[in-house]
């Protein structure tokens, strides 16, 4: 599900940085072209900022990354054990049918 939330260009920051560097490194003799280049560079910087903010928003919405992977696996293990215990508990009490003394003693032996 994380891939559906993340689009291809969400984290593509390098290309924007490269574009900015290219714009800044252009050496033009013409003043008008220089001005145009600087405007272009400025726009690309703004675009980079926007991309960074968008990337942060996407990261905040991604599910399941509140914990590290190890902690998450531990959580899954704990939940599975809890589920097994509760299932066994329910089956144990559902299977008790009679109240005679023999059944009660067997039940107590089984418990120990």
């Amino acid at each position: 599900m994380a891939t559906q939330l993340v689009e291809g260009g969400d984290f593509d920051l390098l290309s924007t940085i490269y574009d900015i560097i290219k714009s800044v490194e252009k050496e033009q003799q013409d003043n008008a072209q220089k001005q145009k280049d600087s405007q272009e560079a400025g726009q690309k910087v703004l675009e980079l900022q926007r991309k960074l903010d968008h990337a942060r928003e996407v990261v905040k919405k991604l599910p399941g990354i509140e914990l590290s992977k190890d902690e998450q696996l531990l959580q899954i293990d704990l939940l599975r054990r809890q589920l097994t215990l509760k299932r066994d508990l329910l089956n144990k009490y559902r299977s008790i049918t009679s109240f005679d003394r023999e059944a009660q003693s067997e039940f107590q032996i089984h418990q120990h």
């Binding site: 994380a2 990261v59 990354i65 590290s68 809890q82 508990l89």
Partner: protein, 258 residues
């Protein structure tokens, strides 16, 4: 055990680092244009930004895997919650059953105790019925079926009946001097028989003493025969008591009749 950084924190840190490095890189570029170029620092910054980008991509892949695991976590949590609900229901039912059983056992124990008591002291049913009849015959337990408001009959002896009784006639005995006890006994027989034969004529009278009951005081009177002389000394006091009692009863009966 130190808590590990969450994947979200790692990703956000990566993005912040890339932003800082990119700004540093651009500042460096602008400075390079104006001043002496510092290519070593520039190349280091470029390497650093590339490394951070690689880290970002790897962490994103980890986040994708964790997203898949999170679905399992959600499913497990739902299942655990369902089991919790069932356990709570079962607990409630067991608690109710325990209460019912405890009540039933308690009542059964009480019944067993009363059975044991009854077996230890058996009573003849004929005697029980006789006593029940004796208690209820005087209409002290329940009013007679034809009793209406304004009826002067009462479930207790009224003053007239008390005067006709043994205590009331103790005063007569004192007035008349010596009177034998058998004569005293015959008098109530005579007067009460008249009273019981015509119940409607004498209002406010119940048959407080039956024929059988009159024979019983014979035994008690024989005991009193020894102390009969002592009664002569305090007849006035008993008369006074009777008067006081009659006053009380008259006041109560008058209040009842209202």
């Amino acid at each position: 055990m130190t808590s590990q950084k969450s994947t979200r924190e790692v990703l956000l840190t990566c993005i912040d680092d890339i932003e800082i490095i990119a700004k540093e890189l651009l500042d460096n570029l602008i400075a390079q244009k104006q001043q002496k170029p510092m290519s070593t620092e520039h190349s280091q910054l470029v390497e650093l930004v590339l490394q951070k980008d690689t880290d970002l991509k790897a962490t994103l892949k980890l986040a994708e895997e964790q997203g898949v695991l999170q679905q399992k976590v959600v499913a497990l949590e739902t299942e655990v919650e369902r089991h919790d609900v069932e356990i709570r229901n079962l607990q409630k039912q067991l608690k109710e059953a325990e209460q019912l059983l405890a009540t039933a056992i308690f009542q059964a124990k009480q019944k067993l105790q009363s059975i044991t008591r009854a077996n230890n002291r058996p009573v003849n049913s004929e005697e029980l019925i006789k006593f029940a009849h004796r208690i209820s015959a005087s209409n002290a337990v329940c009013a007679p079926l034809n009793w209406q408001q304004g009826d002067l009959r009462r479930p207790y002896p009224t003053d007239i009946e008390m005067r006709l009784g043994f205590l009331g006639r103790l005063g007569e005995m004192n007035v008349n001097g010596h009177m034998s006890f058998p004569e005293l006994l015959h008098r109530p027989n005579h007067s009460l028989q008249q009273g019981s034969s015509v119940p409607n004529s004498q209002a406010g009278t119940y048959s407080w003493l039956s024929q059988n009951d009159l024979q019983m005081p014979c035994l008690s009177v024989s005991h009193l025969g020894v102390s009969g002389g002592m009664d002569h000394k305090n007849p006035k006091k008993e008369n006074e008591d009777v008067d006081v009692m009659s006053t009380d009863s008259s006041s109560s009966s008058s209040s009842d009749s209202q």
